[in-house]
Symmetry: C2
Subunit: 350 residues, 2 copies
């Protein structure tokens, strides 16, 4: 199949460090190419891919201020999409990761188009917008993600879980006596304070490998930083190649995210390293974690602290085995089935 993949222009594909969506797109493109598909990736010029790259300048985050991006980014994304659709005959299917910005082109294009919804759907304005394009096929990245819009008349093609190249995680030994790990971004909804509280109550050391966005600087300085020390260490953002070692060195990864996380790559990275996950029951968590088998699903900080004390009950090898559900191969297979169904449906329409 000739497949166009459309990425947001903020970060390179894959990104240097933080940027889950861009990493997933990179993995998907390389996986599809390795299976013999002709893939064209529309993305920033610093992207690295086995696909044919249609490059659109340096990543926007490096070129523009936050204010400039608010005004400009929609128009740069629309221009890229318009250029893609003006060449629609070159593709059998368009897979856009720019979701709602792609909608208007589906009214003008003949080529089948599928959108992956990478973000949360529990936003008021989406309840008005999504049904206006109710026939456009959508992919969710967890079943739970659809819940906020379950009453709307939409066309869900599939749930395709995010997948990653997990090979880098397979040969680092898991340390069952290690620290508690926290990976992500320092922001209230990610639950850094809950992670610290779990460490305090369980008496275990905590290492936080986390990015602090400029927007979250004040929150970090005022709310998080004062808790550092006495077994709680902040080591900052880590690069992709440092992740396997960080996860494997943890006896458990804490995932106290307090919002309906549509997926949560942290959980599968942890499982791939043989490290169980202690998570709050939110969003996609029950679909990713097998409670009592690959970690513990908890209702509050108190349960999380108790789970940390029982973490030895979890078999690291079972964590690695279950991580295979979220491999690059599984994700590629999921999307190929979606593309094939779209191409068949188009053929049968004549």
């Amino acid at each position: 199949m000739r497949i166009a993949q459309v990425a947001p222009l903020y970060e390179a594909v894959p990104p240097g460090a933080y940027g889950g969506t861009e990493r997933v797109i990179a993995t998907l493109c390389d996986g599809l190419v390795s299976q013999g598909h002709e893939v064209t990736l529309f993305a920033p010029e610093t992207s690295e891919t086995d696909a044919v790259l249609e490059s659109y300048g340096e990543p926007l985050r490096t070129r523009f201020s936050r204010e400039e991006l608010t005004d400009l980014a929609p128009h740069l994304h629309l221009q890229m999409l318009a250029e893609l659709y003006s060449r629609q005959d070159e593709f059998d299917v368009v897979h856009s990761h720019l979701d709602i910005w792609t909608y208007p082109f589906t009214l003008l294009a003949q080529v089948p188009t599928v959108l992956t919804m990478h973000g949360r759907l529990d936003l008021d304005f989406l309840r008005d917008l999504l049904p206006r394009y109710g026939t456009v096929p959508l992919v969710s990245i967890s079943d739970d993600q659809r819940r906020a819009v379950a009453d709307l008349d939409l066309t869900w093609a599939a749930t395709v879980y995010n997948g990653l190249d997990l090979s880098a995680y397979s040969d680092v030994p898991h340390d069952s006596d290690g620290y508690l790990g926290f990976v992500g971004r320092i922001a209230e909804e990610k639950g850094p304070l809950a992670a610290i509280e779990v460490a305090r109550r369980s008496g275990l050391p905590l290492r936080m490998a986390a990015k602090v966005d400029p927007l979250d600087e004040v929150y970090y300085e005022e709310e998080v930083k004062p808790h550092m020390g006495h077994g709680v260490d902040f080591i900052g953002e880590i690069e992709e190649h440092e992740k396997a070692k960080f996860y494997a060195g943890a006896r458990a990864t804490l995932f106290p995210s307090d919002w309906p996380e549509p997926f949560g790559l942290v959980m599968i990275e942890s499982l791939a390293a043989g490290t169980p996950v202690i998570a709050l029951r939110r969003g996609s968590v029950p679909e990713v974690i097998d409670d009592g088998v690959t970690g513990f699903i908890c209702d509050d900080v108190d349960q999380m602290a108790k789970a940390a004390e029982r973490i030895g009950e979890i078999d690291p090898d079972e964590c690695r085995r279950q991580a295979a559900r979220f491999s690059a191969e599984a994700m590629c297979q999921g999307y190929i089935e979606v593309y094939e169904a779209l191409v068949r449906a188009r053929g049968s329409r004549g």
Copy 2:
């Protein structure tokens, strides 16, 4: 010609009160229809027009909060444009007043499209965006409006001054002994404090017929309201049918706008009522006002106050005569020439 006109969805066409762009679009549509053209107007459902109305719900300002609009309005505008362009064969020319949101469709459409730039162009992000679509024909509403982007490679089809149905203004007698008038919106850049200062220095009474947007409420309360009284009256927003009497009752209209106003409908409404204009030398002012003939163009508040004392030198009949340059007919003729040139150019391309 079969002409599609595309309006923003915030206000009805024409608007109830304040809303210059919507009033101009309404005048243009009716004028084109009266000349025998087939016009289709894409606009809110409460619009009133001689054109065929493709209606898009109640005006957005009445349906959504400011925050909701930030998220939703771009997508509602894009949907309307996509639906229009999916029917492009029904039109000989598309005239969009949604300017930059229309750009992506020009890459996909065959129908000639022209954009009127109704806003200011001296914004940083436009310097990046406009040259990306350098071949799309643009109309400016004054020559001065182009100045901020004069160094960019753009395609200017024409300057077409805004026009209004001025007949309502022709039969109210001008009062040469009246007050000083201020019409517009209470906002710092519109110069309400300068208007008050001019009234104080010249010893003449001032009447301010002005809208206070929720966003400008604090500015009004703290900066403007304390100056009321002692000959300065705030009468609030006035309806369209009250305007002629308000302008005609003024010996002069003050236009102390302190930003590069792309056009300034207030000036032509005033001239149509036989009322000269005392304006700061900004933006389009020197193109609209004939200095010493239909008013005075000033460099500061001091000059404006002196001009107010000399306003008897201006001939009201000459003001009315010059207002004809900004009639509905003149505007329609200007746009018809633009449309015809586009249709001819398309024909010669084959």
